[in-house]
Amino acid sequence: MDWAYLFEISLTGVASGGLYALAALAFVLVYKATRVVNIAIGEMLMIGAYLFFTFSATFSLPIWAAVIGAVIGTGLLGAIVERTMIRPLLGEPPISVFMVTVGLASVLVGLVEIIWTADQRRLPEFLPNTPIMVGEAFLAPKVAYGALIAAGLIGAVLLVFRFWRGGVALRATASDQAAAYSMGINVPRVFSLAWVASAMIAAVAGIMVGAIGGISSTMGVFGLSVLVVVIVGGLDSVLGALIGGVFIGLVEALAGTFLGGEYKLLATFIVLVLVLMVRPYGLFGTHEIERL
């Protein structure tokens, strides 16, 4: 066993897990506040990436402006989705709302193919290209910067939700809606806030994923791995999303290296099955949600 090589692979795995953690955070935010399983999280991430592509490549805006534009645009999408599709379903069975997000995913894919065609595209290069060395180990620069940006954003989001009134309101709403409502917390606005924040985080994750692997109308499958991450980590646990993200990133990297690229997804889903066997609190299992 070559330990240096193993370290290098693990490092790459952990770093790419950072993006999983970021996308999982976007998912958990919506689930925690509104109890909606947003299956379209991968597609919202894709919209963020395509908006970035449009602003930076088509309109030739500077990178920072394109990022802001993409984040705001996707946030707007989140607001529209919440207002027009999710809120009217308030009080309906969870499975109905779930199916609406499944439909939303298809609609978003269709939208992307209509506007941008189904061709694969590359995002403009905006990250430094110098290889990064951690000790003896080499880390692809894009993966490294992706992880750094993910870590920074996750940190910022956690701080905001720890110390800002709106974040406290969100945690209170997640804990007991009726009590929050009677406490002067505007629960519908908290729902909107959660969707907008989630969409914005997803946009950043989408831009990073696109920068590493290019964008296409099928990049929403990234959402599948995110789903594994959140089920493994616990649907409403922020900490679970972070640990789960890094863990799944690691599993994929190890499986991809030692078993071959085609075993990546197989390995993650085996992990999912194993986790569900040990902690059988599946998607619609019970109200008891396990944290990793």
Partner: protein, 284 residues
């Protein structure tokens, strides 16, 4: 006839309920309920199970929209005002089944009560400057020195609420409601499931809230002894209708109330009465 000088003229009621009707489909939970709450009073709503007490509470606090009638708070019509706005106006409530924010500490729960009154924005909060610092300091002083002290929960302020015994959780819920700086405090069964000693403590707190804090209290309660001891005004609900209201002694003596609620073997009586009415209605 002029009123005797010794009796002050009644002040304008702080809370008024007028001809309130609430229906869920074909089921009427409340029919033409009306009463008013005088400032500085303790008003109790009593009635058998299913009489509509909690429905009434939920309508007053804005969780349900009545199909007819009005709710007035300090003279203003709030029938269409959303619940969070009512909280800001000064209408605080507790819940029959404790609704604390689990996973948070006692202190966090209580401080959340002040949420509606805070104005700090996200940047001020992040860097903890200006208004954030001022509001937090003020909140801390008020909560720690007045509320926690008053309710005698100093020893558990950093405990997670889910680990507390039932009686203490009720007390924390009341503390949270007080942190909302309410004008009217609505308590839904404040002593349900409490033992004698806990009940007496709670009764003392309710009296003190009125006497020392000047907060008007409106409560739903099953404990007859406590209702009769504490209340200035009692409203009796039965099948969604007010069957009597007035001073405790007056209500206690009301034959209708005794029949419907207080008398022994009342369940059989009630059933017979209900069936009789339905038969009559059916015949008519």
């Amino acid at each position: 006839m002029p009123q005797p000088a010794a009796v002050p003229a009644p002040a304008a009621p702080v809370l008024q309920v007028e001809a309130l009707t609430l229906a869920f489909g074909g089921v009427k939970a409340l029919t033409g309920v009306g009463f008013s709450v005088q400032p500085g009073s303790i008003t109790a709503v009593i009635g058998p199970n299913g009489a509509g007490k909690t429905s009434l509470f939920n309508t007053i606090s804005g969780f349900y929209r009545p199909s007819a009638g009005r709710v007035l708070f300090e003279g203003a019509d709030i029938t269409r005002t959303p619940a969070p706005q009512r909280a800001k106006l000064g209408l605080a409530r507790s819940f029959q089944n404790i609704a604390l924010f689990r996973g948070m500490t006692v202190l966090d729960n209580i401080k959340l009560g002040r949420h509606a009154h805070l104005k700090t924005n996200v940047l001020e909060a992040l860097f903890y400057v200006g208004r954030a610092r001022r509001e937090e300091a003020e909140l801390r002083r008020d909560v720690e020195e007045r509320i926690i002290d008053f309710l005698e929960i100093d020893h558990i302020r950093h405990a997670p609420v889910s680990a507390l015994p039932y009686g203490l959780q009720k007390r924390v819920e009341m503390a949270r409601a007080l942190a909302m700086q309410p004008k009217v405090l609505m308590l839904d069964e404040p002593v349900a499931g409490m033992n004698r000693e806990e009940t007496e403590d709670m009764a003392r707190f309710i009296l003190d809230v009125r006497d020392e804090w000047g907060v008007t209290v409106l409560m739903v309660e099953h404990d007859m002894g406590m209702v009769m001891d504490l209340s200035d005004h009692v409203v009796v609900l039965n099948f969604g209708q007010v069957i009597a209201q007035g001073a405790p002694a007056h209500v206690q003596a009301d034959p209708e109330v005794i029949r419907a609620y207080l008398g022994a073997g009342d369940v059989g009586d009630l059933r017979r009465k209900l069936r009789g009415e339905q038969t009559v209605a059916g015949v008519a």
